[in-house]
């Protein structure tokens, strides 16, 4: 784990609301694997760090993808190149890849696309064929960047690809699925692919395993820590009903 003072190098837009920010962070770039995250601290800024999956790595650059949903993400999008923040990572346990699968579907909804480019990289390294499945509300919200051998789109309104959910767009016969997106989507996926690997989001206090704030309810009973044992889990091992469907609050005014 490293605590890197990382300058913003560049940013680019993916959709009307989604941006990619690239920070210089050589130690983390060198170590991070698909599904791991970094925890970002802004000063001045909110009290706690903000966790983000690593989107892509390019040399010494670590990319994250985000949209403004609250104070922290707003401040992140207000950074100008050269501004620095503290980047703690890589954190958590990412996806694992088994060459025996031969093929893998990378299934994401909305911002859940975040861990997928690295997953595609690591899947390819493991010799796997990659089927990229990505969905959003409507065509304009789709992240156009994709990597793999095949791509499938899904939109709620049918404006691009399948009209329906990414779960429906995923080839039924694919041997393994790696997924990320809103909890209800992942819960649906767990019904069909209980052995899928899913990267889940929880609120986090520390991101390093000491606070027990990031409780993930397990099917076997009890909770463990998204930041340490997770954020990637076997879909069938999660007690989905005990996870909040949406994490849609924001720190109100300060």
């Amino acid at each position: 784990m490293h605590d890197v003072t990382a300058p913003l190098l560049r940013r680019r837009r993916l959709t009307a609301e989604m941006w990619v920010l690239g920070f210089q962070s050589p130690e983390i770039a060198a170590e991070v694997t698909a599904g791991q995250f970094v925890n970002l601290l802004l000063r001045p800024g909110p009290l706690l760090r903000r966790p983000f999956s690593v989107y892509r790595v390019d040399g010494e650059t670590v990319e994250v993808v985000l949209k403004a949903v609250g104070e922290g993400t707003r401040q992140l999008l207000d950074l100008t190149p050269g501004d620095t923040l503290s980047m703690l990572g890589p954190l958590g346990r990412g996806f694992t890849f088994d060459p025996a699968w031969k093929e893998v579907a990378l299934v994401s909804g909305g911002l859940g696309v975040a861990p997928m480019p690295l997953a595609a990289r690591d899947a390819a390294a493991a010799g796997l064929r990659v089927c990229w499945v990505h969905g959003a509300r409507t065509a304009d919200d789709l992240c156009q960047e994709w990597t793999g051998d095949e791509v499938r789109w899904a939109t709620d309104d049918g404006s691009r690809g399948l009209r329906g959910s990414v779960v429906d767009a995923t080839p039924a016969d694919v041997p393994q699925v790696l997924a990320c997106g809103p909890n209800p989507m992942l819960a649906a996926l767990a019904g069909r692919w209980p052995t899928a690997q899913v990267a889940i989001e929880t609120y986090m206090g520390c991101g390093t395993g000491v606070c027990l704030g990031c409780a993930v309810p397990r099917a076997r009973g009890g909770y463990d820590r998204a930041c340490t044992e997770g954020p990637v889990y076997e879909a069938g091992s999660i007690r989905w009903a005990a996870l909040p469907g949406h994490l849609h609050y924001e720190v109100a005014s300060r």
Binding site: M1, D3, L41, P46, L47, L48, R49, L88, T202, Y203, M204, G205, C206, G207, T208, G209, V210, C211, L212, G213, C214, A215, V216, P217, G221, G222, Y223, T228, A242, L243, P244, H246, L247, H248, Y249, V251, A252, S253, R254
Partner: protein, 307 residues
Amino acid sequence: MTLEVGRVQLRTPVMAASGTFGYGTEVPLLDRSRLGGMVSKGIFLHPRPGTPPVRIVETPSGMLNAIGLQGPGVDALLRDYSPQWAEWDFPVLVNINAETVDEYGELAARLDGAPGVAGLEVNISCPNVSQGGMLFGKDARLAAAVTGAVRRRTALPVWVKLTPAVTDIAEIARACEDAGADALCAVNTFVGMSIDLHTRRPRIAFGTGGLSGPAIRPMAVHLAHQAAKAVRIPVVGIGGITTASDALEFLIAGCRAVQVGTATFAEPRAIESVVEGIERYVSDNGYEDLDALPRLVEPESEAAPAT
């Protein structure tokens, strides 16, 4: 800067607070040689699963948490952690929790003499199941009963961690001192609530949560000061400490040491810079050591404020 506080030998005056440092086994980046000591995550006699998510929400300059004292119970603690602690060169206090006075005593007895356990920090901000769930720490008589029960069952140093939301903290501090506490810790989190306007439910699944972080610091300094004035045993200051200046406020207010909690979430190395800053203040001002630190110059009036 080694010092003795409530019969525990600390390496520096800055400790890691309970619940913010786990069992000390997963602490990234921090240079542990600067750590005065640590308090473990709160433990019960029996394993507890903890509360369902959401457990944490951020609030202005603070955060609410309701972890529900998730933990493996004292047997697992003795098996998995206490042997490791025995190898470490800083003291580990175990934060003990219970639902009845007897259970506190039982837990203290189980930990008595355990390797690597330098002392007990009694968390009296637990609901008393036999009295309608009122926190032990809200009532002087109950707080004293818990302190006494622990005191009688162990030779270990006993620190009692005070509940902040009380009418008169001095009264409770004195009651704990009289019941045999070696030190007091002031303070624990403040009860708070935050509501999700979409679901109209509390954001914390449990309902309420404990407020910590810089937001509470002015209240914590006041309460630690009140406690320190009320007793002869040492007081350990806790609440919103992020920098050395914050820690020095508690020390000048009469505390002998401090604990850092929430700040370490953002800055895993916060304790190092707090220790360094205290050392610098002490030497810049030419004090021989921390004991020579002069105390608060009290204002003339000590009455309650009229805003």
